[in-house]
């Protein structure tokens, strides 16, 4: 069974979704929760049987799909993708379990299960076309979720989300086809398998153009400044569950794809574009933090802060060394947990008051103490307080980039302080002071259904903040092999020096150890 566990993980939710059409309307939530729980259990089994000492791909599957054109259904995971898959199944489960009552609940749950298929598929695919299929397919359920259950501007927001990403992905598709063509020229056979592409060393000029083609697709998904304009609309209009999945998992597709495609395929271009991208990332961190400070709507604050943190992830990725990339992957998980939790928390208050304007609240700490506590913990995690999950990721990302540029890292570090300002200001407006509005005096505190989602997230936030090793170690092993691959493939001197050589690094420590003796 473990030979096909990835296929099972991908298609189990989809098959369950099809059966879900037959379920009676009132019982569909229990069905959805059960399916998502099974899926989560399977993903835990995957984690359990994952050998964290192996740096390469595990649980590989391969089926020929279009052999005439080199397209195969290839799956496999390493430490980089494992935890995002676990996170995706976890969030789908708690998302469905804590779903507040909505219209057309059945359609929503079935859509979420389809969405889960595409999410797991993206992170498990090792063939560029299969990856692209899931990448694009994930747009459809999200389009429907935003467009059918969203706010007043939902249609505009959902169509903008779809078209923006779709346009970027099509440019990426051209890039993929070019890559396959170069592979064909070099070897005489068509192949879209990523692991085979890794062996291809491209001339620098080709790398520069292909990097840009892939970059456009990924940057829109992340979303990076200046392509981020769809995200505030999508978050602002999406229902709570939509925002949670979008922030926790879908945005990670972009950053994950940078590590899976851009870095190992185009090491020289990655080094060449490192500083421009770092500058964009820092603009993204500072600018969106400032925009967040100006928001009146708490959900927009969380949305912009989420973009701001994605900037740190990008910065860590383009540190191009083990610390930075490991940190950025860890931060992807941390960001997923924390921003997912924050969106859930915003959803809690929205369900009660049907407004997200901060001016409508004030003094909630005395009315809803448990809510205020959880919100407080998540907020501290979001600003990167030590001993919370975000701190580990942010610290490693910045540490990694510090090796490349001191000044830019300093700027990014300062920007994180700005993050603390707007988050604390928002918290103050909402929770402290007198209860000014009459409607807020009798708000019920968080109920059991909401706690089902919030308590596990809080536990993870603190636990992984204190003891990140079980996750960091497998990530680190896989990242080391990626960085080594990049170093080996790099052509230019600049790239060779920027990307550390780990094999040599080990030798040096050995000799230095000898000297000590």
């Amino acid at each position: 069974m473990l030979d096909h566990i990835l296929s099972i993980l991908i298609f189990f939710p989809a098959v369950a979704a099809i059966f879900g059409f037959a379920i009676q309307k009132d019982s569909v939530r229990a069905y959805g929760t059960a399916v998502a729980a099974i899926e989560f259990a399977l993903s835990l089994l995957l984690w359990y049987s994952f050998d964290s000492n192996v740096s390469g791909m595990q649980f590989m599957e391969q089926v020929a799909l279009i052999p005439a054109f080199g397209i195969n259904y290839i799956l496999g995971i390493d430490g980089i993708s494992l935890f995002i898959i676990v996170l995706a199944s976890f969030f789908t489960m708690i998302g469905i379990a804590s779903l507040s009552d909505t219209k057309d609940e059945k359609n929503l749950i079935i859509t979420l299960l389809f969405l889960q298929m595409t999410m797991v598929g993206v992170f498990a695919a090792l063939d560029a076309i299969v990856f692209y299929v899931f990448w694009e397919l994930s747009l459809v359920p999200m389009l429907y979720i935003i467009g059918a259950w969203g706010g007043p501007l939902r249609i505009y927001a959902s169509v903008k989300f779809f078209l923006y990403t779709f346009a970027g992905s099509l440019v990426m598709l051209v890039g993929i086809l070019f890559m396959a063509y170069f592979y064909y020229q070099a070897t005489g056979t068509w192949s879209f398998a990523i692991l085979e592409w890794y062996r291809l060393i491209l001339p620098e000029s080709f790398q520069m153009w292909l990097f840009l083609a892939f970059f456009l697709g990924f940057a829109i998904k992340v979303p990076m400044f200046p392509f981020h304009t769809w995200l505030p609309y999508a978050h602002g209009q999406a229902p709570t569950i939509g925002s949670v999945i979008l922030a926790a998992i879908l945005l990670k597709m972009g950053t994950y794809a940078f590590i899976r495609f851009s870095l190992p395929l185009f090491p020289d271009a990655s080094v060449a574009y490192m500083f421009p991208i770092a500058v964009i990332a820092i603009i993204m961190i500072i600018y969106t933090a400032m925009v967040a400070y100006a928001q009146k709507d708490i959900k927009q604050v969380v949305a912009y802060s989420s973009v701001s943190h994605m900037g740190v992830i990008i910065l860590g990725t383009f540190a191009l060394n083990v610390e930075g990339i490991t940190g950025s992957i860890f931060l992807m998980i941390a960001h997923g947990v924390v921003s997912g939790a924050l969106f859930l928390l915003v959803g809690v208050i929205y369900d009660r008051r049907h407004t997200k304007l901060m001016s409508e609240f004030g003094g909630l700490a005395s009315v809803m103490p448990r809510y205020a506590t959880i919100f407080g913990i998540m907020l501290m995690a979001s600003v990167g307080l030590p001993l919370t999950i975000n701190f580990v990721g942010e610290f490693l990302s910045l540490l990694g980039f510090y090796k490349q540029s001191h000044i830019l890292t300093l700027l990014a570090g300062t920007a994180i302080i700005v993050g603390a300002i707007y988050m604390l200001a928002a918290y103050k407006k909402m929770f402290f002071g007198e209860v000014t509005k009459e409607e807020n005096k009798n708000l019920p505190d968080v109920n059991k259904r909401e706690l089902v989602a919030l308590i596990p997230l809080t536990i993870i936030t603190v636990w992984l903040g204190i003891y990140p090793k079980p996750i960091l170690e497998p990530i680190n092993n896989s990242v080391e092999s990626v960085v080594q691959l990049m170093h080996d493939k790099a052509i230019t001197e600049e790239a060779k020096s920027r990307i550390p050589n780990l094999v040599k690094g080990v030798e040096i420590t050995k000799t230095s150890a000898k000297e000590v003796h």
Binding site: A64, L65, I66, P67, A68, F69, N107, I129, Y132, V133, E136, L137, L139, V140, L143, Y144, G147, A148, R154, I155, S158, V159, F162, L163, F166, A167, L170, V171, L173, V174, L177, F178, A180, Y181, Y184
Partner: protein, 504 residues
Amino acid sequence: MSPVNVSMESLNLIALAPMLTPIVGALLILIVDLFKIGLDKSLYVMLSFLFLIIDFGLLLDSASVFSQAGTLMGVFDVILIDGLAIISQFIIVGASLLFIALALTPKRFHEFSYPEFFALFLFMIGGFQFMVATDNLILIFVGLETASLALYTMIAMHNRDKSFEAAVKYFTMGALAAGFFSFGAMVFYALTGSIEVNQIAAVLNANNYADIGYVLIGVVFILAAFGFKLSMVPFHTWTPDVYEGSSAALAGYMSIVPKIAGFVVAMRMFEFLIHSGIVWLEVVLYIVVVITMTAANIWALVQDDVKRMLAYSSISHAGFVMAAILIGTTQSNSALFLYWILFSFTNLGSFSMLWISRQKNLPSYQSSDHSFDKFSGMIKTSPVAASIMALFMLSLAGLPPFALFWGKMYMISSAVTSGYTVLALIMALNSAIAGYYYLKLIVYMFMKEPSAQSISSNGKVYVSNASTSLKTIIGFAAVGTIFAFIAVNPILEFVTSFVYNSGY
């Protein structure tokens, strides 16, 4: 005068069998009608169906002959059975098989009460089959006109004001195109003394395109003629009106079958011209392709009727596919056929969805029969139909893993492989623009509230014209659209080997 001495074997009359089958079928239908009038349409549908199946079987036979013995000539070398002819005939007959079942509607429509409709239908198929299975310009012309005249009549038989308008418009434009075609053919005949494409190519290559000015004139006329038939911008103006005037099923049919026949002839005609190294020809074709793709997409954005939107979308798809002829490699020519096979599934499916929602009389609150408003909130009242319609729209938009994505991907790949990078990007971005109008229908169906009328009728309006056979066709198209990824490999291998062995 010496007697003409021709052995029957050299005529190779068996090569004619696939084309003659529908013609025999048409004559049989007319004879049946002579003996007893007033028979039900289901009889004629089934008769046509049977003849098309025989036709298909004979095509399978000639396909196996081709894969063993290569290109076959017959009937004084006028008939040319090569890979292109066989694949395109497969598409023509296959799409016709899907189409003819759409006549079995529960509602009565004017055209289906005439047996002549079915006879004309079979004559038309025979015409198209002749058109693709020859490189003789005269036979191409005869096939084209046989098919087109039958088609004009079939449109007019729909018996609405707009269908008369459509038929007359199509006829006038078609007559103009025929004039252009014959003039172009005349120029080439004057230049080379031959009316066979391969002879023309050989003579022109031998004298190294000495009379380049006349070649230009000939090419422009031929291009204009095919511009009309393939609805290339700026010769496309008839398309939306004609599609709007004809029944949805026939409009879907028109977006597939006449075009593949046109593409095959264009491929035969332009293949050698593109490879002749004359730059302006490439430039002209490049411009036509890009403008057709882009302009049609932009027009489609502003339509408020689904059928007109689909009409512009099919113009855009034709432009997309025309790029294959511009690129002119084996990969691109195979991509053309792959694309068109997948497109025929999806497009026939989406037009059939319009067909089953056909109303007998236009209600007062609707501006046109298939306005976008009609579909608002369809997911609430008839979820299955809405999901299937959305599936076809997503496939047309090129969303993976649905059918048309594979065609698009292979087509863009062929552009990439031959160094047409800018063209590849334009094709990709056009797919993104196209995404918007396909999405518009999905937005209406899934995200808007249903109108009072459709709630009160409980979604009946969307399936009011459905019968078991129509549902079967739609189910067939839907399954083909979803599981296309399984079929792509065999189709691709088949198409590539046939195209390659025909020397394209």
